[in-house]
């Protein structure tokens, strides 16, 4: 085989796991089924698919590692001309961290909080005897510089808790690069980051991979992101290859129906709302702070009309979730007024009447923890009916079943527990629970950000259907501009606790922009080739023209 060009050759890979459903016989589950691909030196392959598609499992298999009871039961993985599955433990140990490196999704959890960054970054290189400690130290600070980390000489002396999310992810990339590996596996490296941070990390990864001519497997569920980085893309679903080809043909000429749906995700668009109806909720000069006295929400005034959707956008830490907590009364506001259909809501939750509570419902980001794992779907959805309307017995069951029909789940789900549902189904049940109260306003706190794009699309469509049927208003909190474009009537952009821009969707999303909104909007990955370069070069030009003014 041609060793010069081909670095990694995966042939007919097959990975199995055994699952133990309670009360049933153990079952074998095929996690990865007959997957083959090749990777040349300096090439980047994007693995894409929804959760459970087996993409992380394939990534780890390239390290000859099967996690959580996964067994590699078939196929071959040739790395630099050697089958690593049969090479034995000693060889595997040698290649891990040396020839192949791994960058995990959550750098905050993957780095040891008790050690300084530098020690962790140089550890693989020194352990594998690839370079001396002194060499490694110099190389590490040159990597920090290349990855655009601040103050490269002393950066390594910091502890993980002193870094931001984007810096952690880049530090972890530096750790992977330090051993000068031939192959790096990036497992969703930007998924948990804000869009404005994501773009920096993407640029850093891309430049590092180019300059060191390292090959990479880039695992993600975001096709727009992978289109910026990868040379080839493989689309996976349920452990099987759906489509495999070069990035250009996947993005511009997808052959399979599933790939086409992935490419066209977020094509729903809500029609512009015609008439202005009466106001559902008006926030007047709301300020809020936590116990330590730091103001998190600062003088926010926004409003939403009946039957419409207000999207509150901002990155993490901008105070948007805190704003939701002040509206619900979980965190009493410090000053300002909350006017809900004409009457003022008391700041504290316990001063509000049951009727006020009923009319204002909330849907959470993490559907798994938003439902009591020890209650059935029927109990979860039926409880608001009983609590607010006193409906019990047969009628309650019938009404609950009707609600489940509304969210496109059948009656058969009544007796299920949350653990027996998929992520999208869980979020649907949470929506049904909110609907059961027949509310006038639903606060949706990042309801789609924990879901795969296709599932998220389904949830958004459902929410819009419900709005048309029932005339409910939404307060939609999100960091995802794509979602906002799809469903919002009016938009409020939040930055450091303040609303920097508020108005109708068309006004907010069209220029002239303020600096922050411009940054936020231009950082959203677009589903086209060369987007990253065009944004970066535009910013660089802008930076150059800005400089002389200082």
């Amino acid at each position: 085989m041609n060793q010069n060009a081909q670095l990694l050759d995966v042939k007919k890979l097959r990975i199995e796991a055994t699952v133990y459903p309670p009360g049933e016989e153990p079952q074998k589950l095929l996690v990865v089924d007959d997957v083959s691909f090749q990777l040349n030196k300096g090439q980047v392959l994007g693995l894409i698919g929804e959760s459970g598609a087996g993409k992380s499992t394939i990534g780890l298999a390239a390290l000859a590692y099967g996690r959580g009871g996964c067994r590699i039961t078939g196929g071959e993985i040739w790395l630099s001309g050697r089958n690593i599955l049969t090479a034995g433990a000693a060889h595997t140990r040698k290649i891990r961290g040396g020839q192949v490196a791994y960058v995990a999704q959550c750098a905050a959890a993957a780095l040891n909080p008790a050690h300084r960054i530098l020690e962790q970054v140089i550890e693989p290189a020194v352990e594998h005897g690839l370079m001396s400690r002194a060499e490694a130290l110099i190389f590490a600070s040159s990597l920090f510089e290349k990855l655009g980390l601040p103050d490269p000489a002393s950066f390594g002396n910091r502890f993980p808790h002193q870094l931001s999310g984007g810096q952690l992810q880049r530090a972890m990339t530096a750790m992977a690069l330090c051993g000068k590996p031939a192959l790096i596996i990036f497992d969703e490296p930007t998924t948990s980051l804000d869009v404005t941070t994501q773009i920096d990390v993407l640029a850093a990864i891309r430049c590092a991979v180019r300059d060191t001519s390292t090959a990479a497997l880039y695992i993600t569920h975001d096709l727009a992101v992978v289109a910026q980085i990868a040379d080839d893309i493989m689309v996976l679903r349920n452990g099987k290859t759906i489509e495999y080809g070069c990035t250009n043909s996947i993005i511009n000429r997808p052959q399979q129906e599933y790939t086409q749906r992935l490419v066209n995700v977020r094509s729903i668009r809500k029609p512009e709302c015609a008439g202005q109806k009466d106001e559902a909720l008006r926030l007047q000069n709301i300020s809020a702070c936590y116990g330590n006295g730091v103001t998190v929400v600062d003088d926010v005034s926004v409003h939403v009309h009946r039957g419409q959707t207000l999207a509150i956008v901002g990155e993490s830490g901008s105070g948007k979730s805190t704003l939701a907590r002040t509206i619900t009364g979980l965190l009493p506001r410090r000053s300002g007024n909350t006017v809900f259909f004409g009457d003022k809501l008391p700041p504290k939750l316990k001063d509000r009447t049951t009727e006020q509570l009923r009319r204002l419902q909330m849907i959470y980001q993490m559907a798994d923890v938003a439902m009591n794992p020890r209650q059935t779907v029927g109990e979860i959805v039926g409880r608001p009916l009983e609590f607010y309307f006193g409906i019990t017995g047969k009628e309650r069951r019938a009404r609950t079943a009707a609600l489940l029909d509304q969210i496109e789940l059948g009656q058969c789900y009544l007796e299920r527990y949350p653990a027996e549902l998929s992520g999208g189904q869980k979020q649907r049940v949470c929506i049904a629970r909110a609907l059961a109260a027949e509310p006038d306003l639903i606060i949706c706190d990042e309801v789609t950000s924990a879901l795969d794009p296709l599932m998220a699309d389904g949830i958004l469509k459902l929410l819009m259907d419900i709005q048309q049927r029932t005339g409910v208003s939404y307060l939609f909190i999100t960091h995802d501009i794509g979602t906002v474009r799809a469903i919002a009537d009016s938009i409020a952009v939040m930055h450091r606790g303040k609303v920097v821009r508020f108005g109708q969707r068309a006004d907010v999303l069209s220029p002239p922009f303020d600096d922050y909104t411009d940054l936020l909007l231009s950082s959203v990955p677009e589903m086209r080739l060369g987007w990253l370069e065009s944004v970066l070069s535009k910013r660089e030009r802008k930076g150059h023209t800005d400089e002389p003014q200082h």
Partner: protein, 272 residues
């Protein structure tokens, strides 16, 4: 059901069931009255006296059976009471927070700061020793440990979104405690229940050994050890039999609890 149990759980189950059977049916199983003097003192094991006789010549097997009754009853009731008390107060403190939490937690710290056995000795030497005072004292003293565990668990659980959702719905505190938090805290609480029962058996036995527990003519395993401890010097094993029974009971209970714990945590895929 039995098929799923591991061999350790089966061993534990056999131990617990045997001892409980003896306790429940003591009057029918015992060959002699518990206070009846039927032979010489410290007679060896024989066909007439299966486990020999004690220091006064009473049948040791009969006394062990009656002793099991008291041990099970007092330790069991004290454990249940301590759990009801500790769990309810712990959950309330965690859900309501604020001054109630402070008051309960500091009071709890105060009680825990005094060594349990010494505290019990002082209280029991002042109060008349009846079955009821004994159970109450044991329950209150061991509820401090349960309170801590329950509060810690509930603080964790009440930070989760589904408890917040219940609060937003306007649910009462009691609903939140019993319907939202308790079902999710059962597994660790159950593990603690087994452990606490073992400790209650040991605690009762220590009290009886020191003469402040079950009073004659009533009998429990601790008091049998006490009565027969002098026999050890003469090579009489009478004191070891109840001591062994205590050990077998505590170990068996824990084996059973462990296996139930494994089952409940896999059940419904809930929190382990």
């Amino acid at each position: 059901m039995l098929r799923h149990l591991s061999w350790t759980a089966r061993v534990g189950l056999v131990g617990v069931v045997t001892l409980a059977f003896g306790a429940v049916f003591a009057p029918w199983l015992a060959p002699y009255e518990q206070t009846q003097i039927v032979g010489e003192f410290w007679e060896p094991m024989s066909r007439a006296f299966w486990l020999g006789t004690d220091q006064l010549g009473r049948d040791l097997f009969s006394r062990m059976l009656y002793g099991a009754r008291n041990t099970f009853f007092v330790a069991g009731l004290a454990t249940l009471l301590s759990f009801s008390l500790g769990v309810f107060l712990g959950f309330s403190a965690a859900v309501l927070r604020g001054s109630l939490d402070q008051a309960l937690s500091r009071l709890n710290d105060l009680l825990m700061a005094i060594p349990t056995l010494i505290f019990a000795l002082v209280v029991l030497s002042v109060l008349p020793i009846t079955m009821i005072t004994l159970i109450l004292v044991m329950a209150i003293l061991s509820s401090t440990r349960v309170f801590r565990l329950a509060r810690a668990l509930a603080v964790d659980i009440s930070a989760l979104d589904f408890v917040e959702a219940a609060r937003l719905r306007g649910e009462k505190t009691l609903w939140i405690i019993f319907r939202e938090i308790l079902p999710n805290a059962l597994a660790p609480l159950f593990a603690e229940l087994g452990l606490r029962f073992s400790f209650a058996v040991l605690f009762l036995s220590s009290l009886s050994f020191l003469g402040l527990g079950i009073q004659p003519p009533e009998v429990d395993w601790g008091s049998i050890v006490k009565e027969n401890k002098d026999g050890i010097v003469y090579g009489v094993p009478a004191a070891f039999l109840p001591a062994g029974a205590i050990a077998v009971l505590t170990i068996s209970v824990n084996l059973v609890v462990d296996s139930i714990l494994k089952h409940t945590s896999s059940l419904k895929g809930g929190r382990g």
